[in-house]
């Protein structure tokens, strides 16, 4: 969440799920909330009942659009233009919060200059929406007491992902909608413990609680606590860099814990090729995933029902995971497997339980400092929770923005890395369906869920289907510059003409054979949401 960290100094969801109910306006962009985060959607429905205005910006007519006061189907990848257009209207009409901007932010002047160029007419043209709708959105968002922004992968999975997020941060600061209840900029995390994996230092540039690896103080602290003198003070490789490293021979071994990059990463052919080059591929998982099938060593870990521990949800809430049943067969707790390997490798670890591990996490990570298993009984705790008498933090940036001052960024619109042309005339966007989750490792092994939606499909607008002579539920081929797959057609006006959609859970016809690995230069998130394809029988 590099965009939010740059603007506010913290990359997490600023506010809490429960607060959504009391917002006056909710702006949902790039989040198919009812499908991907159903229990957040429930709060949005309650807000609507309480009289909130709902704005949805999504290229598809997602379910939430039916409940929206304004819905725009902006062209995939045009988010910056749309948002700049909205902010242009707010500035022109002087609906911005001058006091907030003066007191709590910096960088406003250059931001203002950039946004000046994005008249609603110009933004409307780039985003393929109407200028009236842009004005309506600006009015609804700016002219209310508490406005909340909710976004998800539809914002981040672009080559301009960080720009998109910074633009949302601009919008919130422009109207003073940050640091108050029921406002904020709220990324919904796709997987249940994405927040926790980030918090725990599962990133190449930070150790726990975002302590940078390039820092003498951090280095000294952890070297002492971990009894080691080899902590490197350089940023490590991101996932795409590790895959490239395998490909060019700089990386020899890869240890994959509970991930399935063969299905989840863009341009599967490239991923497969890279993984096949590994001298040592270690995969620790609960199923023999596509990635595990390539491994040299497969280590059976356990699932959430078979272990103790904690997850940190999208609103920074740490809650307990409790063991209900014994592991299947010889499967072992993941931390134990890693500890055993570490000891055999020659680096000593002697933890007795996850609780003991959490004690160490709390001692070394300021925002988790007050978290203990005892205190997690009940509702859990939202970090920052620095001390054992701190109640946790429902919303961030309350008195001051964590960064000191919120930083406006002047962002110009850049088109997606791959645009449609005569050969590849359709814009493919990818996402989830309600019954499945991520690469389907778990949901497709659940009978009830697999029965709901047993196979993949391609959504296409009736107009396009007619022109191409496609039959509903008939088979069709889809090709991009990277690969080709075959799938079933679903004719629906959920997608506008020229845009097609595929879910990415299905190994038989994986959308990520087609997607573009072009990444955002900072966040290194691939552009899953836009690539150019052709469709043929």
């Amino acid at each position: 969440m590099a965009g939010l960290a740059a603007a506010f100094g913290s990359g997490a969801m600023t506010n809490s799920i429960a607060e959504i109910e009391n917002a006056d306006t909710i702006f949902i962009i790039g989040s198919n909330t009812t499908t991907c985060h159903p229990l957040v959607a429930k709060r949005i429905f309650r807000a609507k009942k309480n009289g909130a205005k709902i704005i949805v910006a999504d290229p598809r007519k997602i379910q939430m659009a039916q409940f929206a006061d304004v819905h725009v189907q902006h062209a995939p990848g045009s988010d910056v233009a749309l948002l700049n257009g909205i902010m242009n209207v707010i500035l022109e009409n002087k609906w911005h919060d001058k006091n907030f901007i003066d007191e709590k932010t910096e960088g406003f002047e250059s931001f203002k200059k950039t946004v000046r160029d994005y008249t609603p007419e110009k933004a409307a043209e780039i985003a393929d929406v109407s200028a009236e709708d842009i004005i309506k959105i600006a009015d609804a968002y700016a002219n209310c007491e508490k406005a909340s922004i909710i976004y998800c992968m539809g914002i981040t999975q672009h080559t301009t992902g960080v720009d998109n997020v910074k633009s949302l941060a601009n919008l919130a600061m422009l109207t003073g909608n940050i640091g108050k209840e029921s406002t904020g900029v709220n990324p919904l995390r796709g997987q249940n413990n994405v927040q926790g994996a980030c918090d725990m230092g599962g990133l190449p540039n930070v150790i726990t609680a975002y302590q940078p690896v390039i820092s003498d103080a951090t280095n000294e602290k952890f070297a002492k606590a971990w009894n080691t003198d080899i902590l490197p003070q350089v940023n490590g490789r991101t996932i795409p860099d590790m895959l490239d490293g395998l490909d060019n021979g700089e990386v020899k071994a890869l240890y994959v814990l509970g991930e399935n990059p063969v299905l989840s990463d863009p341009d599967i052919k490239h991923v497969n090729k890279a993984l096949e080059k590994a001298e040592l591929l270690i995969v620790q998982d609960i199923f023999l995933t596509e990635t595990a099938k390539l491994a040299h060593v497969v280590l059976p870990g356990v699932c959430f029902a078979e272990k103790d521990g904690t997850f940190s949800n999208t609103e920074r809430r740490v809650t307990r995971v409790r063991k209900a049943v014994e592991p299947v067969g010889d499967a072992r707790e993941d931390w134990k497997i890693i500890q055993d390997i570490s000891n055999a490798f020659g680096y000593k670890m002697e933890y007795e339980s996850p609780e003991e591990i959490m004690k160490e996490i709390a001692a070394l990570s300021p925002s988790y400092g007050g978290i203990t298993y005892e205190r997690l009984e009940g509702d859990g705790l939202q970090w920052p929770c620095p001390t054992t008498d701190h109640p946790g933090t429902p919303y961030l940036h309350k008195d001051n923005i964590a960064r000191g001052k919120g930083l406006f960024h002047a962002i110009e619109y850049r088109p997606p890395a791959e645009e449609t042309d005569d050969e590849y005339p359709f814009c493919l966007t990818t996402g989830r369906v309600y019954a499945h989750y991520h690469t389907g490792t778990m949901t497709r092994n659940s009978i009830s869920l697999d029965n709901e939606i047993p196979e993949g499909f391609l959504e296409i607008n009736p107009e396009d289907a007619k022109r191409l002579d496609l039959l509903d539920r008939g088979r069709v081929n889809v090709a991009s510059r990277r690969g080709e797959i075959s799938t079933r057609v679903m004719i629906t006006d959920r997608v506008p003409p020229g845009v097609v959609f595929m879910p990415f859970h299905f190994v038989e016809n994986s959308a990520n054979v087609l997607t573009n690995p072009a990444c955002d230069p900072i966040a290194k998130i691939p552009e899953y949401k836009v690539c150019a394809v052709k469709i043929f029988l």
Partner: protein, 135 residues
């Protein structure tokens, strides 16, 4: 007959709903929503309601495996751990710490992730740690 319920947190999406897993004679048999859960307030989505099903799937991995003669073959934990550790050591000795990479996971617990990155940084000596948050 031994029946109990265990309060825990959903493993699927980032909402982090709490619910009770129903355990009958050591087997998972169902999921019950939790009224007092701060997040879910007694609600669950279709994935949550069925979350116990994949746990008992016949396809779960039950034994460590090592590739021998091109095929993955079941081995003892001892062999799997030794094989992994000695190969990591050899690769580190020959090519340096940064020739080894780690994918942490958005699906495992905080404690699991903490141990993995600690092993990468303090054991191996590399910051090559990342996970699918980006994805």
């Amino acid at each position: 007959m031994d029946y109990k319920t265990v309060l825990t947190t959903c493993t699927y999406c980032g909402c982090g709903c709490n619910f009770f897993l129903e355990v009958l004679d050591g087997e998972l048999v169902g999921t019950i929503p939790c009224k007092t859960s701060y997040v879910s307030q007694g609600g669950l989505c279709i994935k949550g309601w069925n979350v116990h099903e994949f746990v008992t799937s016949k396809k779960r991995l039950t034994s460590p495996m090592i590739r021998k003669n091109g095929e993955l073959q079941e081995v003892s934990w001892e062999e799997a751990i030794d094989y992994t550790a000695s190969n990591l050591k050899q690769i580190k000795d020959e090519n340096g710490s940064d020739s080894i990479g780690f994918f942490a996971s958005a699906k495992v617990t905080n404690e699991d992730n903490y141990i993995l990155q600690k092993f990468a940084r303090a054991g191996i000596g590399t910051n090559n740690v990342d996970h699918c948050a980006r994805l």
